[in-house]
Symmetry: C2
Subunit: 468 residues, 2 copies
């Protein structure tokens, strides 16, 4: 097969851009840093949304929608929040042909405007917890944009909740972390994320604790795949979110927020992609089985249509490619680029022998299968390949992670992968030193892999890496 | 039951606002003209999206996402388009702390930016038709905002397609009109929309033809529920969307666009709401059966939970209300306000007699039903009430529409409903005269009810009305 993409080993960033362009996942938008998500990319995002949304609803949160435009003054009410986001704001100064009395910002995130409405809606302890989520676009002006990873506008879900006490807020932030994000990323995306606590330096602007899920990409760098924040009473104080307790006292609520975005599309590409293109894990894939008519011939089109029906009946997401006017080789290259988990190729010669050919995207293996066995073969392949992709990613993470004892060793190890190092050997000063060398503390974890409540707990392990 | 809402007959606009507030559907946002869609309102929008999205995909269009920000210069490329939208634009002048070299507008609609990318993606006639859709927020600065009906920001789907010739573009614009919009509005929303052609004066800015679906609201006014436009070659010329034909000549494509928005939530309220609140048609309703524990008692909670399971197994969308701490009357009023089609009330006394009570939102009828028959009773009620709501709306439209022969009569009739009048008795001049009296030509139709291709066809009927 002719070389379609720059090989990863030659130039990873170039491979990433090539893949996005050739698989027709996205384009750069006309305004710097914006992107156009093309149908092939958007179909994957829709599947991410469906899987995440079901988990979010199961966790008890309800979807709502808050305005794109936020009065500038709202952001100033929480000091750290405005400091963190000011450099990235897009500001609307004119509306309806007139200069606005107060400029409005395009939401970079919605803690402030949602805080304002939580204050209106929450009255008694019976109104808590208030569990909200929204699917929306947000804008953060990017100086060094890269499609899906850092774009001036991106799509995401942002959850915002209010609770009666800190324990309930913490439990919910962690429930989302594990039951929504980790469950989705591990089980559907097939990415063995490491879950941990962010250091104070890496915390969300306005949060008291930020929990994170970090994935290792094909080049050994880390990608923050999602975060869940405890906001303490910071926003409740700034927006006056109070409630009357069962004991009739007036208390400030405790809030959380949590988000995951189209950045996950970048993670998907960089974790599972290979030199032939994307590989989409079967549970995520909008098209799981791609049925190709190799060449027109006696009964081939009919057999392909019948196979599609049978696969659909078995619950498989199917697409039919019967564009016999386009050379088969070109279509096969395109199918590899797009990363459909299984191809089912049907040509006159195979069919005469009663066979179809199953091609698996993970390994490239091609197997002739008797037509009546195709459905079972596809189902088995989808199951096996979901696991294969996860196992490959896990093996890479393990082989590219080293345990070291000093900051210097950790910084050195981060040149090619992740370093596991005692947090006590790093600390806030060591963190600044690492940052100066483009290495960051991705997260802190306990020895047993569980997520700490505080960076001051003893015997924590820090994960250091370069990152996107 | 105590009066919860201003009665419609007393003050229809006030009733509308009351209902939205008390049913907790939406709030006004902090920036003038924006809105917050609360969970009860957003759940209905999600159902609208799901039903529409399935029909859009069936019509062959694929979802994608284009940027929120559009260079100001793009809008200027199509003269009528910029003239139509300039007064409503929100303009971003600062990004990332700096003044932008070229201001960008927040999309009021996306013909321009999508046109730019269609030009990049379309090469040969084989690339046509190109059928795209996006779910997005758009901004049109509103001087007299009203929640759901006219808001500065709203949510919608906008479809954009490119075709090889005019006939194909027209057929597709009409396919969407009938198979997506009319089918959804009649079959799911239960609103007997009139489908027709807009006059030149009412046409979308930049279109050659605008098709529309008009619903009659409870006060006899019209609401434009959705539109589908033929754009001719206007945008293809402005954005250079060309293709090489099978005969090797280079041709401009023909494009269409079509949209429907959160405005439909306003239409739903004003078409089906009554003095007790919203009435959601069963096929649309996020909650079809609302199972209420009237009072705690022996086995009531268990029986309610079992009923919920049985209903869910029968494919009914169910919610359980077991908040026995809250007075039942208050919960029942709230259920009326929210418009759940069927309530299933379970109390210790009924249950002792082996019964539950079915309450239908359309008529208020309360019927004791033996517990084993509840599922069948609910299913029958849902079916019947979908039809009841449609029939009521149709009867109102018919009783509030009069056929007249002159413009003066039509303007008079429009004070309380719709007028059917020969278009030849109105014309462009008569239309201006009607407009001066706040009456507009909603659409033009042929005698047999079909949709004309041109306002110059003979013997067309015009529908005149006041409108939202």
């Amino acid at each position: 097969m002719a070389r379609v993409l720059t090989p990863r080993a030659e130039d990873f960033p170039r491979w990433y851009q090539d893949l996005i362009a050739k698989a027709q996942l996205a384009d750069n938008g006309p305004v710097r840093g914006t992107m156009v998500i093309r149908p092939a990319g958007y179909a994957i995002w829709e599947r991410m949304q469906a899987e995440m949304d079901a988990r979010i609803k199961l966790a008890g949160a309800e979807n709502a929608y808050f305005p794109l435009f936020i009065p500038e003054s709202y952001l100033r009410r929480e000091a750290q929040h405005v400091e963190g986001f000011s450099p990235e704001l897009a500001v609307v100064t004119h509306g309806g042909g007139k200069q606005l009395a107060e400029p409005v910002v395009v939401r970079p995130t919605s803690e402030t405007v949602i805080g304002e409405f939580m204050a209106k809606w929450v009255d008694s302890y019976r109104d808590l917890p208030l569990l909200l989520n929204q699917w929306a676009n947000v804008v953060r002006w990017e100086l060094r944009p890269r499609v899906f990873l850092r774009t001036s506008e991106f799509l995401w879900q942002e959850g915002h909740t209010a609770h009666a006490d800190e324990a309930d807020a913490r439990a919910y932030a962690r429930k989302i972390l594990h039951e929504v994000y980790e469950d989705f990323m591990v089980g559907v995306l097939g990415i063995p994320v490491l879950v941990g606590l962010k250091t104070a330096r890496e915390r969300f602007a306005g949060a008291t604790r930020t929990y994170t899920l970090e994935g290792m990409m094909g080049d050994g760098k880390a990608l923050q795949m999602g975060t869940s924040h405890e906001l303490g009473q910071n926003f409740a104080r700034a927006f006056d979110i109070t409630y009357t307790s069962a004991e009739r006292s007036v208390e400030h609520a405790w809030t959380t927020s949590w988000g995951s975005s189209t950045r996950m599309l970048g993670g998907l590409i960089m974790c599972h992609g290979d030199d032939n293109g994307l590989r989409v894990p079967p549970r995520l894939a909008p098209v799981q089985a791609y049925v190709m008519v190799v060449k027109a011939g006696d009964g081939v089109a009919e057999a392909a249509a019948k196979l599609c029906d049978a696969l659909r009946d078995a619950g498989v997401r199917v697409a039919l490619d019967d564009r016999v006017d386009t050379p088969f080789g070109r279509r096969a290259v395109d199918a590899e680029l797009k990363g459909y988990p299984v191809r089912v190729e049907l040509g006159p010669r195979d069919l005469a022998a009663g066979n179809a050919v199953l091609v698996r995207r993970t390994t490239g293996a091609k197997t002739p299968v008797p037509v009546p066995d195709v459905v079972a073969g596809v189902l088995a392949a989808l199951d096996a390949d979901q696991k294969t992709l996860y196992d490959e990613a896990l093996a890479r993470r393990e082989s590219h992670t080293v345990s070291v004892e000093t900051l210097a060793e950790a910084i050195e190890a981060a040149a090619t992968g992740w370093a596991r190092v005692p947090w006590s050997a790093v600390g806030a000063e060591g963190e600044a030193e690492a940052n100066a060398k483009a290495v960051t503390v991705r997260c802190l974890r306990r020895a047993d892999g569980s997520v700490p409540d505080s960076e001051d707990e003893p015997e924590l392990t820090a994960i250091l890496a370069r990152s996107y």
